[in-house]
Symmetry: C2
Subunit: 356 residues, 2 copies
């Protein structure tokens, strides 16, 4: 198959990790006789530096005209002081919105060989950590109106959080469908004892739960979920929640695995075109040093093959290659422990390619 | 001194744990020649059952006319289906608002003898976990307007999140002042890359930080904070944040200590009158069984003596008594481990009194 991939290297370690993912994609294309063409575009901090905006029109157009988007990472302290209207993160939010990517899947799984990296006690890790956060990505307080204005001689800032039934239902459906391919359990997270948006969220989820009688359904308050993720993460299979809660909980969930550099994510809407990116940030402190971990990006590319291009075998082959390399003891600096073999970012990419 | 304390036993285990706290308060009063009078009022689920409202006017009036309020716990699944307008949690929110309790202090500290109860690895716990969350308690999305209405044949729910400069400044000041009595470090948590309220929050905190040059100041995004609390909690001293983020992060922080049954909290406004309560919930599953842990409530009473009544020695005496009992190996069921001595809720109260 021919596939046109729009690629955003972005900032910090973005370019290095993307280079390795492209190596792996090309190797997979070779092996399975596909042809991938890459359209490299500027977005994020680097685009601010070049064009004065984090998302030039041409970049957005390239995201809307392709088979899928692969992203490294955007942002960094360098752009902390720029006008909020053009910040690097704005690019990300605008792409999500314009591409209609309402469901963001963030798996948090402990790789057996890396179990010791988890900050949790071995007894807790041994119970198994393999959950998937389904985060609503283009609604809620991220996309409501906001304003800051002077009232009574002082500034007052306001952000509006809204959800409509159809916005909740479509992401809820993704959660239930995904649960059917996993352990058949959905935990829906809200703050229904306080928020109207949460009460509507819960109502819609209950309606969906009736349509999926084969899936066990649990409501959980967001504060309690923040506790349960640390106390007993094995209780979770699929966790579905709104945008802001998903931002916080998915980061917490990724950290309990202890290997945040390995976690991929997908963002999808209607249809097969999506955006794929590692969940870690742009790590400007180690940018350009060739020591970053490219696995999160490589596994994001694997997710793209599976979810956007229906290339199951190809995707699995990449996952297997990553597992093989980890099992043989190869590690980048972030997951290195004594007795293992330390690889640079590019050497890790090469090693994974060699297993394909 | 004479002090008038309004007491809300509330629901679930509320009554049992309050009884023990009152025992301890009376013992402290005896020893130090004070006189405490208790005004027991109904609030929460039990008030819904009796009066059809979670906070009868007389109960609110009693909170506003006293030297401080001591609360057990309110709520439970029994009232999950009642009209949001009269839910048990509404009582709590209304008391906070009407009493003007804008700063909620939630310490998360690992007691040495209970270090093994933390879900985190011993190496992480050994670095020391002793942080204090200062949560803004009467602003933000908890108290903005909300509505659910039909638009285009579907329901749309909206919650409004607002902060004014003075609301941020007053709670920020509490954080900086408290940090001066601790390790002189404030971490302010926000989502300034997305929210206007967070950008205003950060601006006001930066202004305050200049007034407190002896306090080290750090900005941290809420998603990153959710990770750092698990990865490296020893980096935190005082953490200050808005209402909703504080709800989530303080629960996460309490869980990493592994002994949530022991954590007290204070809620204060202008002046010395506050509300004190354990941070755990009403635990209806073990209500009436005399196995709950009363220590969170007892330490809340100790906080009340210190912060509202300026009884430093008395407060310290209660803390010392609790430490002595723990050091001697006495445990309630929730923190019991082999080789220790298991006590009921009331026996734990008695044991603490015996050390006073
Ligand atoms: C960069 C930021 C706007 C973004 C978000 O909050 O969604 C990031 O934290 C994420 O989770 O992808
Ligand atoms: C009961 C609920 C409304 C309350 C809150 O969210 O503030 C509770 O979770 C708390 O943290 O005290």
């Amino acid at each position: 198959m021919n596939k046109r991939i729009t690629v955003i290297k972005g900032d910090g370690i973005g370019p290095e990790i993307i280079d390795e993912a492209i190596k792996v994609l090309d190797a997979a294309a070779d092996k399975y006789h596909h042809h991938f063409t890459y359209n490299y575009i500027d977005a994020g901090g680097c685009a601010i530096d070049k064009f004065g905006t984090s998302l030039p029109d041409a970049s957005l157009a390239a995201c809307l005209d392709c088979d899928s988007v692969l992203l490294g990472a955007v942002g960094g302290p360098k752009w902390d002081q720029v006008d909020p209207a053009i910040r690097p993160e704005k690019a990300l939010l605008k792409i999500r919105k314009e591409m209609g990517l309402f469901s963001n899947l963030r798996p948090a799984k402990v790789f057996d060989v890396l179990a010791a990296a988890s900050p949790l006690k071995p007894e807790i890790v041994a119970q198994g950590i393999d959950l998937l956060i389904v985060r609503e990505l283009i609604g809620g307080v991220y996309f409501g109106e906001r304003e800051t204005k002077e009232i009574n001689n002082e500034l007052k800032a306001t952000d509006i959080m809204s959800y409509s039934e159809h916005e909740i239902e479509r992401v809820g459906r993704v959660a239930f469908e995904t649960a059917r391919k996993r352990r058949h359990h959905v935990t829906s997270v809200d703050k229904a004892n306080v928020l109207d948006t949460s009460r509507l969220w819960r109502k819609v989820m209950h309606r969906l739960a009736e349509e999926y009688p084969d899936v066990t359904y649990t409501d959980m308050l967001v504060d309690n979920t923040a506790m349960q993720l640390v106390k007993n993460p094995s209780q979770f299979d699929v966790v579905v929640t709104e945008n802001m809660f998903g931002d916080i909980l998915s980061d917490e969930a990724s950290m309990i695995t202890g290997s945040i550099g390995l976690i991929p994510s997908s963002s999808l809407g209607v249809g097969s075109r999506g955006m794929y990116e590692p969940i870690h940030g742009s790590a400007p402190d180690i940018a350009g040093m060739n020591i970053a971990n490219p696995i999160g990006t490589i596994l994001s590319a694997a997710m793209m093959l599976k979810y956007s291009f229906e290339m199951e075998a190809e995707s699995q082959a990449i996952e297997d290659a990553v597992n093989a390399v980890l099992n043989e003891g190869y590690r980048t600096a972030d997951i290195y422990t004594e007795g293992k073999i330390k690889l640079t970012c590019s050497a890790m990419g090469d090693k994974i390619v060699s297993k394909l």
